[in-house]
């Protein structure tokens, strides 16, 4: 059975390794969130916003030309059609309602690719809440359009200038700012990382993805379970959402595509399950890219959203027990897959998502297999990178 235990562990991974200054916040969240999200009032508000504001359910689309090319029946779960352009908004809608119920006045968030930052800025605008987003200085440069969007939405974008100036450092900075403002502020973590209860809470908000896949696949194929579900993994929130209702359905293969960057042994990679060992980062025990001395190694991926040296504890557990199959996709292959999908199906995916598309080349499956790829985000934010790469 894959589920989180009372102390916040998935097998050996998880927990809440936090400074005492954050203990009251984490405790407040832990004590209240399950109760709050199980009320009818919460569910009604959450579901109506998902429907009318986010645009759910997102389509489950049979990608015929992609299917022909790869020789399987491939469905795309169109999270790229969510308002703001990625699955991230499912979680921010849930957390903003929760923050309101907890009486919080201010929101902080970290962001890598800027998708979570935009999704957070969006729900803050919707609810009239003050919003500050921490973003690595390097990511601010390579995801410029999302920075502009956050600003138009009224959020303050603060550069994280330490370390590799990417997602890890933005997360450090958000945690520090939470320590500095513990009473009136809620921290909307964007992935299934961080101290318990965040990984499970974020996964629950994202689990709408697999909930819908089940219903939609039943309608289209007469069965709830595909043979494979494929998703990309940085911290792993879209994968957690796409896998959630299949964790304990062993006949569904769960494929996680990590970012290999310039190659596993290049020293410029973010393939955590290959290169990582057990460690503690951002409040949870998980697989982590680190030196022998326990210093966190700076990762590399062409996609800002996968440029993270850790992985959500649930994914570390899926890897550890062999429930998930992990593949590591290099920058170059992901870019090719992104362009391939654009030209076969008329969908330009986020570069994060392109890693999941390329996974089709790295795994074995049968001709009549039904494969669902979670199309976690659209590529608008990545046009510069695509153009630079392909010389279009």
């Amino acid at each position: 059975m894959i589920r989180v235990d009372e102390k916040g562990f998935y097998g050996k991974f998880g927990g809440a390794y936090i400074p005492e200054m954050l203990h009251p916040n984490i405790e407040e969240l832990k004590e209240n969130y399950e109760q709050i999200i199980s009320t009818e009032e919460f569910k009604t508000e959450f579901n109506s916003l998902l429907r009318d504001f986010v645009g759910r359910p997102t389509p489950l689309y049979l990608a015929s030309r992609l299917s022909d090319k790869y020789g399987a029946k491939i469905y795309l779960k169109r999270e790229d059609l969510c308002h703001t352009g990625a699955h991230k908004v499912n979680n921010t809608v849930g957390q903003i309602i929760l923050a309101k119920k907890l009486g919080k006045k201010r929101i902080i968030a970290e962001t890598g690719a800027g998708q979570h930052g935009v999704a957070t800025a969006t729900v803050c605008a919707l609810m009239g809440m003050d919003c500050t987003v921490y973003m690595g200085e390097l990511d601010i440069q390579r995801q410029r359009p999302n920075v502009e969007r956050m600003k138009i939405l009224g959020a303050k974008v603060v550069p994280a200038t330490s370390g590799s100036k990417t997602l890890k450092d933005a997360t450090n900075e958000a945690m520090r700012q939470w320590i500095n403002n513990p009473v009136d502020t809620h921290y909307i973590i964007g992935s299934v990382v961080g101290p318990h209860p965040y990984p499970e809470m974020v996964a629950k908000f994202q689990s709408v993805i697999s909930e819908e896949i089940k219903t939609q696949l039943k309608e289209k194929e007469g069965r709830e379970n595909p043979d494979l579900v494929i998703a990309c993994v940085g911290g792993g929130s879209n994968a957690a959402g796409a896998f959630y209702h299949y964790y304990n359905v062993p006949e569904v293969r769960l494929i996680a595509a990590e970012a290999a960057g310039l190659g596993i042994s290049s020293g410029k990679s973010a393939a955590t399950t290959v290169l990582g060992t057990m460690g503690i980062l951002h409040g949870s025990k998980t697989l982590l890219m680190q030196t022998e001395d326990g210093q966190v190694v700076e990762p590399h991926s062409i996609s800002a959203g996968l440029d993270y040296p850790g992985i959500g504890p649930v994914h570390a557990h899926l890897y550890d027990i062999g429930r998930g199959e992990f593949v590591a996709v290099e920058d170059e292959d992901a870019m090719k897959a992104g362009v391939e999908l654009s030209r076969l199906e008329g969908i330009i995916p986020a570069i994060e998502t392109s890693h999941a598309i390329h996974a089709l080349n790295m795994i074995e499956y049968k001709r009549d297999d039904i494969i669902v790829i979670n199309l976690s985000g659209r590529g608008d934010k990545d046009l510069d990178t695509y153009i630079k790469w392909g010389g279009y």
Partner: protein, 257 residues
């Protein structure tokens, strides 16, 4: 009885603990800085083990961590530098470090090494109390290491009592809602918090840290506790120093005067 217990047995007021990051400003400064702190008249030495992602620390200590790592500092290197330091330094010594580098070293090996070298206590800011009780308490006791927990203005009375029960050495009172080095001066709100905790009559001595930088803040904090801890302000002294020995002496004496 370790040196921390002996210290507080003999001195209950205006205890000054000085924090510095191992390997900063230069790799080989560790033991000379300890000697200078002792010579200047401080009471406890707190050595920071540098870490790539210090989430409870502000910019000053973050930078010192980064520079120390660039200088080549590691836990192994630090332990090598500390071989034989007890011939030169008598003050109680506490290691402050984030959990990950210590876990990679191996917690039992780490504790054993600390005892061998003559280290008296540990401050591990991201080790939560229940995890400590479950996994590490016996080890710490076996190797004679005092464990210090942090409390903040947000910590409930119930939890402060629990922390007091499981602490052995002193309690580290974080002076405000903040990371290290974030604020200066002491507000009435902070004083009210200091007094509230003082009136709880805890069994452990209390040292106040974060935002303590000079004689004024040190003596104000000390009037509500057994003393205080200076970190970021001391790191700034080290950073700007041309002569560590004299600058450390001058700074510490300006604080305790």
């Amino acid at each position: 009885m370790n040196r921390i217990h002996t210290l507080f047995k003999n001195k209950q007021e205006r205890v000054l603990s000085i924090y510095f990051t191992a390997g900063f400003p230069k790799l080989e400064n560790t033991v000379p800085i300890m000697e200078a702190i002792e010579a200047a008249g401080a009471d406890i030495i707190e050595i920071g083990v540098p870490y790539s992602d210090p989430i409870a620390d502000g910019p000053t200590i973050q930078d010192s961590n980064l520079i120390a790592l660039e200088n080549g500092m590691s836990l192994k290197k630090l332990f090598a530098q500390l071989e034989g330091f007890r011939e030169k330094v008598n003050l109680p010594v506490v290691l402050m470090g984030y959990l990950n580098p210590i876990i990679q070293y191996g917690m039992e090996e780490f504790c054993k090494k600390c005892q061998e070298l003559g280290i008296d206590g540990l401050i591990l800011p991201d080790l939560p109390m229940h995890q400590y009780l479950e996994e590490f308490k016996e080890l710490f006791e076996q190797y004679g290491l005092s464990n210090t927990f942090l409390i903040s203005p947000q910590t409930s009375e119930k939890r402060i009592r629990e922390i007091d029960e499981h602490s052995d050495g002193f309690i580290y009172m974080v002076s405000s809602h903040s990371i290290t080095g974030a604020k200066s001066g002491i507000s009435d709100e902070q004083k009210a918090y200091f007094k509230r905790v003082k009136d709880m009559n805890l069994k452990n001595p209390r040292l106040i840290g974060f935002g303590i930088s000079d004689a004024d803040t040190f003596h104000t904090a000390s009037s509500f506790s057994n003393g205080a801890i200076i970190g970021s302000a001391f790191i700034k002294v080290l950073k700007e120093s041309k002569n560590l020995e004299t600058d450390i002496k001058e700074y510490i004496q300006s604080v305790i005067k």
